[in-house]
Symmetry: C2
Subunit: 236 residues, 2 copies
């Protein structure tokens, strides 16, 4: 399948690499390809420069957000939460009629805190939107002609693309969205990643719970310690 991954961060790289490995035709979108390729320093999360990563992953092509979306049948949104609605709205026409998987968490970081990620000592980023709205719903409202599916968001993307790395893969992934066929397509993609338990939790409104789970995911991660990946299994 022709699949576009929007965003060049660690999550986007994990999906692009895995999809290429599975034989898909993968394009990656970025705001400004020249600027992305010109970077020579690791990004804020410590990922190596994208040019280097791209050289290690032949067959993956970098282009603008719009060109990548235009080239694909299915699009994965890996643009960070607070830029997602703006960046996706700007290419709405290219996303028309397509399935868009969104895994962003709408964290708002406090620029006054040096290390703004959630920490065991209580500095936690805020979610906006939260509780009575969600980023998944905002994206669906901004792109009424696109079939938005919220998924992947309850897990690190390295585990999303390789669930068997935790507990032999016996844990649960969730999908939510208003279009049943789109959820079926994303469920198929997840099964090709190795997921055996994909639970459809309803309409795009269920993005609220999936995004708000971020704090729970963080504290479980702190409890187990960094570098100890984990999954969550819905036990019936």
């Amino acid at each position: 399948m022709k699949i576009a991954v929007l965003g060049t961060g660690g999550g986007g790289r994990a999906h692009a690499a895995r999809l290429a490995e599975l034989g898909h035709d993968v394009v990656v979108g970025t705001r400004d390809p020249e600027a992305t390729l010109a970077r020579t320093e690791p990004d804020m999360m410590g990922n190596p420069p994208y040019k280097q990563w791209l050289a290690d992953h032949p067959g993956i092509t970098l282009m603008t957000f719009g060109d990548a979306a235009d080239a694909a049948e299915l699009v994965i949104n890996g643009i960070d939460g607070h830029n997602a609605v703006g960046a996706l709205s700007a290419i709405a026409g290219k996303l028309e009629g397509k399935v868009l998987v969104d895994y962003a968490v709408p964290f708002v970081y406090n620029p006054d805190v040096e290390h703004p990620w959630p920490t065991p000592w209580g500095v936690m980023p805020k979610l906006d939107p939260c509780d009575t709205d969600s980023l998944g719903e905002q994206i669906q409202r901004a792109l009424p002609g696109t079939k938005v599916v919220k998924s992947f968001v309850t897990q690190e993307q390295e585990i999303v693309v390789n669930p068997k790395a935790v507990g032999g893969g016996d844990h649960t992934m969730f999908v939510a969205g208003d279009d049943a066929e789109a959820k079926k397509a994303v469920t198929g993609l997840l099964k090709s990643y190795g997921w055996t338990d994909v639970l459809d939790v309803g309409g795009i409104v269920a993005s609220r719970g999936m995004e708000m789970y971020a704090h729970m995911h963080s504290v479980i991660g702190f409890a187990l310690g960094f570098g100890n990946p984990f999954g969550v299994k819905v036990v019936r």
Copy 2:
């Protein structure tokens, strides 16, 4: 142990009955015992009148919130979320130095909606506090001399007291709080209920994630269908 359960709803009843069965000396607190015993109709959740329930559970004594807290070594808060801080603050002296387990979700119901519980079609109650604060933290701030432990909140109370009813009991319960000894006491109580996997997720600040998980719990429950209890297992 002398244990007080504050609140006469379904959750409080589940704990009181199970604790009595385990041989504890159980007292139940209510705002106005006479009014509670005078009710002849089922409550808003369809539970039978408390007087009838009490007759079926000999050995459990009903008293005021303050008298119940005063009589106990460990106190379980089953007062609904939006009344909890007020009701507990009013008996702060009786809770001084004690372990208080809180499992309330701070749902704010919309009185304009006839059936204000979360529903598959999108009417969801709002959480207040949420994200940057939690009910667990509010209670701990209101009762600085009490050792507040947030727990039980990620599960239906009928399953909390009987985890083996789901998947043979192979799922996870969480505890959070600022006092390690208090968390140890609550973990012991959970093990006596049948829990084998109790995960300490850190300080009382972790109540945020535990309370915000309520929306995720709801949508998973809708997906599986009413009457299909489930648990969540942290797979390492």
